[in-house]
Amino acid sequence: MTSLHPGDQLDNYRIEQLVARSGMASIYSATDLRNNRKVAIKIPHPEMEADPVLFERFEREAEIGAKLDHPGVMKVFRDPERSRIYMVMEWVDGRLLRHIIHDLRKLPPERAIKIAIAISDALDYIHRNGVVHRDLKPENIMIDDQDHIKLIDFGIAGKEGARRLTFAKLSQVMGTPDYISPEQVKGKRGDGRSDIYALGVMLYEMLSGKTPFQGPNPFAIMNDRLLNNPIPPREVNPEISPELQEVIYRALEREPQNRYASANELAWDLEHLDQVGVTDRAELTDWKHRKTPFARQFIFYAAMALIPIVIFGLLLFIAKH
């Protein structure tokens, strides 16, 4: 398959330039010659087209994008007459939230709240339409000059992938280790509350400049959220109000049933922080006590090692008496 160059015509679109290239696809800016509208065209790499799982992911993204219509979700345009496989999306001027966090490190609380409310609105819409994003992260959120957001990349929003993968490709089926919910870490498919958890992680990151769970490798980062509590946001950034911290904790609840039930509830709390009741949470004191999965194993082996010592002691006692 030939690569495209500026000025080339692809069906009804004139290619302007290559704007991004990922492991899966290349994205070009282009002009729709029928109405002069600027669009983005995503063309999968040939090796991806040959991979059933990746290709299904691409098709799923196109299918889901076409059925959603919300200002906070990137639109995908249907066009049945295409000479090759590609996806046409609305052109969005803006930057990825990842780049904004990278440049500013910490966002002012007012701005972080505004972005989180906008993401919540978009999430509420997609959840009401039966779609769960499942891979929400700053890399998948575009933000324009007025802080309007667009959710992008619905690649793993659909079906469960049953094919065997290596750990390096975990995010193709599960989500990204930093933003994945505890139920997804445990191998569950997750639901809308998993997206709310990811939004809680992003809110924490926007306000504190780092993600709540750390570790030497992605596997440890994933598992850390099952055992430990993050550093309280106010410890990292005192500008965060106790009410805002409470909202973050409610979004980051380990058990989905204790989390916000809908993105709408989260948005409402963010809009009415003065009405959020602050509770005396155990997480505020427990976070210093770090647990590791190996502690339990260590106790077990230590107990096993003690058995012969106890038996020897007993024999010694019996022999002496």
């Binding site: 090796e47 991979d51 992938g161 290596t166 490709k169 599960m174 191998g187 596997f219």
Partner: protein, 288 residues
């Protein structure tokens, strides 16, 4: 291709060999089937058979089974590369090198080769990867090393014991006490390998060492078999069969009947007799 009894086996690699050295006496069979849904086979099996009693003592036997990962990434190339490399390196290994040290070294060699092959396959490289399980027999010792979720069972007196533990995310989490065995069996991460050949420059293999008894049967298989046939069923089939080949075919037929969505491969190795040895100053001597 053809129908063999009730088993629609599409491809068979069969090598039923009885090698009677003065000491260790081994018979084995290896079978591989595409499964009911796939049109290609990403599994690869191989063995090293000593050519003389002296080589049986100095090197022993090696059996390796690899299961390539991920269609587009040339899983079949990864599995073949890994097994061929292991066997070639085993053949040229120094005489008498302890198997417990040799096998991890061979797996690391194979890993490096798969890794390098993947990187050089295209300008961006591919994520070529494979599992591997290998068992070596010498005197009365069996050493099993593995990476990934291909398994080795020891069947003794009709009972199966799983020698290997799967390197999958859900199994690792279960061992860490983060999820129950029941949850691990149904988790989406049960298909995600926590370790595989070819994904990193270095790989850690798990090694188990056992004493072999006459009549012991070792069964090495890929997930296409153990996902649908339990260890107890494998034990029942291989210990009751007179011919190893018929046991292998029965196992493949059962896996195809219950699922058949993946390639199915199995190696069955029976120790007819073993040479009992002791060690004195690092040198083996025969026990009577």
């Amino acid at each position: 291709m053809g129908n063999l009894g009730s088993v629609p086996i599409k491809r068979i690699d069969f090598a039923g060999v009885v090698f009677r050295s003065a000491m260790l006496d081994v018979e084995f069979v290896q079978l591989s089937d595409d499964g009911r849904l796939r049109d290609h086979n990403e599994d690869y099996l191989g063995y090293f058979q000593p050519s003389s009693p002296a080589q049986s003592r100095s090197h022993g036997w090696l059996f390796a089974l690899a299961d390539g990962v991920g269609g587009h990434d040339q899983g079949e190339v990864a599995s073949k590369t890994a097994v061929d490399e292991m066997i070639a390196q085993f053949r040229s290994a120094p005489s008498g090198e302890p198997l417990g040290m040799l096998l991890p070294r061979l797996i690391q060699h194979a890993n490096q080769l798969v890794y390098a092959t993947g990187r050089s396959a295209s300008p961006g490289g591919t994520a070529m990867a494979s599992t591997i399980v290998a068992c070596a027999l010498r005197h009365d010792r069996v050493v099993v090393a593995h990476v990934g979720d291909s398994r080795c069972y020891l069947v003794r007196q009709g009972q199966a014991r799983q020698i290997t533990r799967d390197h999958t995310v859900s199994q690792e989490q279960m061992r860490m006490g983060l999820m129950t065995a029941k949850d691990a069996d149904s988790a989406a991460t049960r298909h995600v390998l926590s370790r595989a050949l070819g994904t990193e420059m270095f790989v850690n293999s798990d090694v188990s060492e056992l004493q072999a008894l006459a009549g012991d049967i070792l069964v090495q298989c890929c997930d296409g078999l153990h996902n649908s046939v339990t260890g107890a069923e494998i034990a029942a089939i291989v210990s009751q069969a007179r011919e190893l080949e018929s046991a292998g075919r029965e196992l493949i037929a059962l896996a195809n009947e219950r699922d058949g969505s993946d390639n199915i491969s199995v190696q069955i190795i029976r120790a007819r007799s073993v040479e009992r040895v002791g060690m004195y100053r690092g040198r083996p001597y025969q026990l009577r």
